[in-house]
Symmetry: C2
Subunit: 246 residues, 2 copies
Amino acid sequence: MQSDNPTAAILLIGDEILSGRTRDANAHHLAGILNAVGIDLREIRVVADDHDAIVAAIRALDRHLGGAWDMVFSSGGIGPTHDDITADAVADAYGVPLEMNAEARRVMEERWNRLGTPVTESRLRMARIPVGARLIENAESAAPGFSIGGLHVMAGVPSVFRSMVEALLPRLTPGRPPVSETIRVDRPESEIADGLREVAGAYPRLSLGSYPFAEGGRYGTNLVIRGLDAEEVAQARAALVARLAL
Amino acid sequence: MQSDNPTAAILLIGDEILSGRTRDANAHHLAGILNAVGIDLREIRVVADDHDAIVAAIRALDRHLGGAWDMVFSSGGIGPTHDDITADAVADAYGVPLEMNAEARRVMEERWNRLGTPVTESRLRMARIPVGARLIENAESAAPGFSIGGLHVMAGVPSVFRSMVEALLPRLTPGRPPVSETIRVDRPESEIADGLREVAGAYPRLSLGSYPFAEGGRYGTNLVIRGLDAEEVAQARAALVARLAL
């Protein structure tokens, strides 16, 4: 699909996904939201809780550091424990110091005071923010995320991630959301591939995707037409229906 | 966790994951299997159905092409439709031609004959295999995957992917599977972070992970100890139980 929409990547940080212990939910959640606001998600990466791996991924992904995409959204590694090393890696990637952030500390202590939670060194680790970063509110459990360069750093716990995405969304520059049409065909994709290829060739600005499925031992295909222009998508849909005799 | 185990990456190819339409299941499935056979999964990438993006990712990941990891497992893009471009990209990445593979054609035609499925140009696309690649059996729907360099190319449809993983597994060089112990603690991770850090520091060869969860409005933490030596893992477990007064 051709577009001038801003591009993005998601960076998931966490051994627990790579070991198969946890099935990530955050990337799928955010992918749907980005699609809906016209931000073109082009890549997802999962890396280990490893300083060098995180720094290398940020550099490869964020255009502000010579990387590939306009925006990067990370998930994971900003909690209070020794294996939460994302903030340190981010500070290194952008070449800025990591400092106790007064505003982050204030919002966390406000919550801790309310709940009677003692302030500990480990908890205060979560107020260490790269200098120059802008905080992302965490309505769920106070400890904030932050934005620096093209990178938006958020928590891995799904409820907290979602809360941060909600807080961040109004700050993002949206694009033009794609229009999408799905046609369900009760034939295997190899039967409709020739017609699909012809129609796809006639609409180079659209993306025509073919997604096979198996249901009750029979094969079918979902055809998905995506583009920025609703009329063009409707034309391609009609052309497909005609060509495939649906 | 320190190990000499072989390392691996998973490469998911597909616009449908990036658009939020589909939630991938293959990476999580394979991650658990790799962990169980001592292959150290270090990275997962999702890229679009885009020739250059696929080639660049293969080069970055497969050690045989100067990339980072010993093995790469890909999923997606080997069906019969115009958007299935993985085989073409793989051939380019390894600098070999893509040719009609006699054995791939034979197993597919055998199935088609049995089912009365006509042979079409689109269906035969699935027999185009990079020269020098070794086929991966597909017990589910015949069209095979293939291995070349350190890369194992498999289908995106989950039932077919699983079938190919099963066929491939006996051919992989396994490592030493890690031993893992999980301790469930009904306290938020910030309360146990200090003790956890101390014990983690005393066992540098182990990985001590801390995974917060929320259940019924209360926060808890799963502590996961991983390592190659069962006795050392047991010692770290005892040290954690003592230090955190569990």
